[in-house]
Subunit: 242 residues, 2 copies
């Protein structure tokens, strides 16, 4: 029997150095809300999404690129100099189709740029759960699920999504990683498929609720409403074409 | 109503810098096996346990201190130059009573020395679960539960113990920490009180099983067989006297 590829989960960017990402598919996870918004924008017809680290870079790229939208929030508000926010609901087809979304976020875009040597970098959230799982199974390569976390602190929503992936793909991988086991147990404990009920007691839910973003978070926790696999090609996230 | 003290869980020494330990009780957790062995040795009458970082330091202190026992393993074997191992079963009363145990371990002793400014540093494992919980409730101070992990990687057994503590003390603390929530959910998922069944699928259980240490791990996961609170006093861990 052929050896199965390996799957591991990294719970925080501050632990990333402990994992070898060479010849590995890295899945960047920032459920609330970067990787949910990325899937939504691409599924709704954006040409691509360019993740950038800073507001300044976002503005500069927005000036350079025709038909671009600059987006990003700091402390729950659209950052000064940008035009749009981090909510997936801001990017329906009639608005985003054919455009380039230049996006900066606190955690997700940072982790995207930290993973350097992976063989492929994709993004995942509940909105594209099945598409991500199908992709990972089809590639037969080692996988690292990378949680964006919150300023390096472990968070529940990204870990829960990692657990949802582990739960679905585990027969196709060799898993000897306690983070993956814990994530899977959390997903099983959470009564699967009802992520948002479980996540209402998370730090990030409480933080974003103070900005009135409950509907946004419910949307981000809804499975498979944006069935695409965003994959990094140079600086751009594009829809993976099998 | 008076504000409750805060409780947080740090899942890896590599995340310790994210937490403020000032005016906080730090609980060092290394279930397999440092903090289980520390509780066993003290409960069985050791004068004190001196946790040290290196084998060389262990040998030097052993030479200096009368009636001392040097102990420590590397890769599942007693380290060269030391006399005893990391197993709690090696320290029955008839052997350890009145002696000083100088102990070096891979993860637990390292974390003990990393926490610098805490108001108190104690050690916890299933063998002294209730004693630790009673102590934390009685002190009415902020608490950080620090998992020793495995070479900075998240592990299941230390997190499960943190969850057992959270589960028991949660009404006495303000908990807005996703790591604490996740640890508590894992403990609830694990069917409480049967830690070892749950931990048989952990990385560390598999690693130590290869050395034939199953009985040791069962012992480390047994609740309340060594009801003492080891507390750091200078360089020495001693039994806390209320």
């Amino acid at each position: 029997m052929e050896a199965l590829p390996k799957l591991e989960v990294c719970l925080s960017p501050a632990l990333l150095h402990l994992y070898d990402t060479t010849d590995t598919i890295a899945v960047i996870i920032d459920v609330f809300r970067a990787t949910s918004t990325i899937a939504a924008a691409l599924h709704n017809g954006a040409n691509c999404v360019i993740p950038v680290a800073s507001v300044a870079e976002c503005i500069a790229l927005g000036n350079d690129i025709e038909d671009s939208i600059t987006a990003g929030e700091r402390d729950g508000k659209i950052a000064e100099g940008l035009k749009h926010g981090n909510s997936p609901s801001e990017y329906p087809a009639e608005f985003i189709k054919g455009k380039t979304l230049v996006l900066t976020t606190t955690n997700g875009t940072r982790l995207l740029h930290m993973v350097k040597d992976a063989s492929a970098i994709i993004t995942g959230s509940f909105v594209n759960l099945t598409a991500v799982c199908d992709y990972l199974i089809s590639q037969k390569k080692n996988v690292l699920l990378g949680c964006a976390a919150w300023k390096d602190k472990f968070n529940l929503e990204d870990t829960l999504f990692a657990g949802a992936v582990v739960n679905r793909v585990k027969d196709h991988f060799e898993i000897n990683c306690d983070s993956a086991r814990a994530a899977n147990y959390l997903y099983e404990y959470s009564a699967k498929g009802d992520a948002i009920s479980f996540l209402r007691d998370s730090s990030h839910y409480k933080r974003l609720s103070a900005y009135g973003l409950q509907k946004d978070m419910e949307y981000c926790a809804t499975e498979d409403v944006h069935p695409v696999v965003p994959i990094l090609n140079g600086r751009d996230l594009e829809v993976h074409k099998p």
